[in-house]
Amino acid sequence: MQLARVIGEVVATVKDANLTGTTLLVLQPIAISGEPAGRTLVAVDSVGAGVGEHVFFVRGREAAFPFYPAEPPTDAAIVGIVDHWTAG
C-alpha cells in the first residue's frame, strides 16, 4: 500500500457497468515527509474519502476486493483514511 492525498475527483458518465456507483478520486502519492512522491493516479474509493484527506491505497488486482462480489475493473483502490502517521 502507499500513502496519498486526495487531490481531486473524476466524473465519468459513460463507464464500464461494473464501475457504476463508484467514486473515482485523483490521488497524489506522498512520502512519509508528506511531500508528493511520484505520479498522480485515479483510484476507486471504498471508504468514503474526500478531497484533502490523507488515505492509503492498494494497487493491482486486489484493488477490486473491497467491492466483492462486484468486480469493478480497477487497478487502484482507496482502502483506508489515515488519522495520523508517525515517522522515525
Partner: protein
Amino acid sequence: MPRHEFGRPFNRMLIAEVVGTVVSTQKNRKLEGAKLLLVQPLTLEGEPRGTALLTIDAVGAGVGERVLVVIEGKAAGDALGRKAAAVDAAIVGIIDSVEYSDAHE
C-alpha cells in the same frame, strides 16, 4: 530495478526498515485489526531505495527493525490470514542478518 508495467515499484520480496506507523480508524472491513507499518526499502548495502511503502505486519515487527517484505496480494492476504483482503504488501519476517557476495557476480 525492474518496474511493473502499471507503476508498482517492486514485485518481489525485499529488505526494508520499519520507519513508522499509521493509524486509520476508517478502513476497509477486511483490514480491521491489522497493524499498519511504514517501511523504507533498502539496498543490500542498507541505503534507502525508492519511496516508503505501507505494509501489514504479520510478525510483530517494530520501528527501527530490518524486515522482509512481500509485495504481492495473495501472499500479503495469506500473511494477514484473510482471503481476498485488499492488501498488496506485508511484513513476513524480521531479519537477523544478511550475507552476500558481490551482487554483480
